[in-house]
């Protein structure tokens, strides 16, 4: 995994590679746009999705991800742009004419039909023979482990079972593309986590192409092989989960995906492979030079909390002697115990605050640091990302 990770700022190259290597994509979205009244919900999105991908559209509510998905399903017609599925433009095709199926957010199961009839609905519409329908439904029921519940009505099922029926119904027609609109939002946390695993397993086994819409970044990171982050109707970044987390392309993405410490500052000088940036709040920081030039002038330094190390006197050993290390002195201002990790807020001498997430790797150990204790927060230049301000 680590080998795949491009260095800071290399996101664009990596995406370019995956696309050119795959040849013709299954789905090509070209400059698609949709306006509701004066609100531009989707504003010129272009995206290629390969066959067999598990792609996540991630973004806050109102970012246009659902509208984009609805255009793929055919519930909204785009004002501009093309949607090519296997090379054929389907942008204006009606939903029932597309070889695409969708799993709806609240499942949209037909309340007057049994589990069996819900799953068979799409097969009947396709004019499948009665015996084939029976076989396929049985297959789907087994696939999502709903055996014995075929005769039940949706309101006689639990939330998790309903979710499975919705999945089976959407998969039954063997669509070329399966769209999932917040498929796990209605499940509780434990069930959501196990279902995430099952969805991934299913997708791999069937070799199908999934596009999932979610506002939950953890869900997107866990399941998707590639994530498109949307903001204000545009794709802000398309990258693998790891790339998105370690090499976000903007301040906004860095903040949206996971926790981050951000320091605004001014470019000072270039020292070998490092940039030296004078920040407000954290003094002078050294960061690795990004592959993609960020220019000089106002810049931001982003560092993830788990990459900030704490110690009483600063780094020791070999790394402690390296010249290029960022040492920030301060006092512990807040301690937040989260089970697996403890998050310390360190009030820095330079005025700012830095968060450090420390793994609780031993059970019988009290918090390593106490409130008001003097500590050194340190991190290497490679652990930072420099972003345009």
């Amino acid at each position: 995994m680590t080998d795949e990770l491009p260095r800071t700022g290399a996101a664009k190259d990596a995406v370019g590679e995956t696309q050119s290597a795959a040849g013709e994509p299954l789905l090509r979205i070209e400059g698609i746009a949709k306006t509701f009244g004066t609100f531009r919900a989707v504003d010129g999105v272009s995206l290629d999705i390969k066959a067999g991908e598990f792609f996540a559209l991630l973004g806050p509510s109102g970012c246009g991800k659902t509208t984009l998905l609805r255009m793929l399903a055919g519930f909204e017609a785009p004002d501009e742009g093309r949607i090519l599925l296997g090379g054929k433009d389907i942008a204006q095709a009606l939903p029932h004419e597309r070889p695409i199926n969708m799993m709806f957010q609240n499942y949209a199961l037909f309340p007057h039909l049994s589990v069996h009839d819900n799953i068979a609905f799409g097969l009947k519409r396709a004019g499948m023979a009665r015996t084939d329908i029976a076989t396929r439904v049985a297959e789907m029921v087994a696939l999502v482990k709903l055996d014995g519940l075929e005769k039940r009505k949706p309101d006689q099922l639990s939330g998790g079972q309903r979710q499975r029926v919705a999945l089976a119904r959407a998969l039954a027609r063997r669509p070329r593309l399966l769209l999932l609109d917040e498929p796990l939002a209605a499940l509780d946390k434990k069930l959501r986590e196990s279902t995430q695993g099952e969805l991934m397993e299913l997708q791999r086994r069937l070799g199908m192409t999934f596009i999932i819409v979610t506002h939950d970044q953890e869900e997107a990171m866990t399941m998707a092989s590639r994530i498109g982050v949307m903001r204000d109707g545009k794709l802000a970044q398309v990258a693998s989960p790891r790339e998105l987390y370690e090499a976000p392309r903007s301040r906004w993405i860095a903040e949206f995906v996971g926790d981050v410490n951000l320091f605004d500052g001014e470019f000072k000088l270039r020292d070998g492979h490092h940039l030296v940036i004078a920040t407000q709040g954290a003094g002078t920081l050294m960061v690795a030079e990004p592959r993609e030039p960020v220019g000089e002038g106002r810049l931001s330094v982003a560092i993830r909390p788990e990459k900030v190390k704490l110690s009483r006197r600063g780094p020791v050993g070999e790394i402690g002697h390296a010249a290029a290390i960022n040492r920030l002195e301060g006092v512990i201002a807040d301690i937040c115990y989260l089970g697996g990790t403890t998050t310390y807020k360190v009030k820095l001498g330079a005025g700012g605050t830095v968060q450090a997430a420390v793994a609780n790797s031993a059970r019988l150990e009290a918090d390593s640091y106490s409130l008001d204790q003097h500590v050194v927060a340190w991190f290497t230049p490679d652990d930072c990302v420099v972003l345009p301000s």
Binding site: A73, G74, F75, H96, M102, F104, G122, R125, Q156
Partner: protein, 304 residues
């Protein structure tokens, strides 16, 4: 359970209210009508006998009970006039309800698909005729439908007819009047079920390959059946007993049961026969009500 515990709970007390209402204003009057229907007509005040005279004591009640008979009911069954009136009432009610459903469903469906703020406007438009007295509206229809009325003027101006059509005192006029008057009672329950239907259900159907007409027949219509049932009952039952509209707009050659009742009560002064006719009408109307109740119960049980 002690009385204190019952009355300690306002919710339980509230549950008694409909029963008290039903007993006072439905069951007791029904008892009166039933009693009159078993009496004999008489030139007296009130115009039937026997009359229960409670001042005479228990002994006097016994012969009064003994004097009750079902003669009036046998008369209803034996005289064609009444049978025809029932049959005509049911035919008119079935036809009018079917027309109302055919006209009301598309209107309710269209309303439910309007943008939210226009739905409120449409709702007001459906209800607004109620601000005018029902009788005035029917008289307005007489005006519109008469020989040189608005409808004939329009038809003549459009050259759809060469001479005025006779509308008044025909079944067409009556159906126009009934459909016009009852349309809101069909639209409102239909609109209520259609508006609360999750739009994603229709989308799911079309996503699964159903063209628009199949989406309607396989999803929208079956899911709107509770609304259809409510609308049909709200229209069918009062139309069976309708008096004013057929009296003012239809011809007088065949009467509906409401008109027959009126005749018996006020022209013939035969209260017992009129009461018997009313009781039979009630029994006839119980059938669709019980059917609907059964249907709803089954739906509830399935929902569990």
């Amino acid at each position: 359970m002690s009385a204190r515990r019952i009355f300690a709970r306002p919710a339980r007390l509230a549950a008694i209210v409909p029963y008290v209402w039903m007993v006072l204003f439905f069951l007791v009057p029904f008892g009166f009508v039933l009693k009159i229907s078993l009496s004999q007509t008489a030139i007296a005040q009130p115009p039937y006998e026997p009359v229960f005279d409670l001042t005479a004591g228990w002994a006097a009640l016994k012969p009064a009970f003994a004097a009750l008979s079902i003669d009036n009911f046998s008369l209803l069954a034996s005289d064609d006039i009444y049978v025809f009136a029932y049959v005509r009432s049911l035919t008119v009610a079935v036809t009018a309800t079917a027309l109302l459903l055919l006209i009301g469903y598309p209107i309710a469906y269209g309303m439910a698909r309007l943008p939210k703020r226009w739905q409120a406007v449409a709702m007001v438009l459906v209800i607004v005729p109620f601000w005018t007295s029902f009788l005035i509206r029917i008289y307005a229809w007489i005006n519109i439908l008469q020989h040189d009325g608005l409808l004939n003027q329009i038809l003549l101006a459009l050259h759809l007819v060469s001479q005025p059509v006779v509308w008044l005192s025909t079944d067409s006029a009556m159906y126009i009047g009934i459909v016009y008057s009852y349309l809101p009672f069909m639209i409102l329950p239909l609109y209520a079920t259609l508006a609360k239907m999750e739009p994603a259900l229709e989308e799911a159907a079309s996503d699964l390959g159903a063209p628009p007409w199949q989406v309607f027949w396989l999803v929208t219509f079956p899911l709107s059946l509770p609304g259809v049932g409510a609308g049909v009952l709200l229209c069918f039952i009062p139309i069976v007993g309708e008096f004013v509209i057929p009296d003012l707009l239809a011809g007088s050659n065949s009467l509906m049961i409401g008109q027959t009742l009126w005749l018996e009560f006020f022209t013939n002064k035969d209260w017992p026969v009129a009461s018997a006719a009313a009781i039979v009408l009630l029994m006839v109307l119980l059938v669709p009500l019980l059917l609907y109740e059964r249907l709803q119960k089954r739906q509830l049980e399935q929902g569990r």
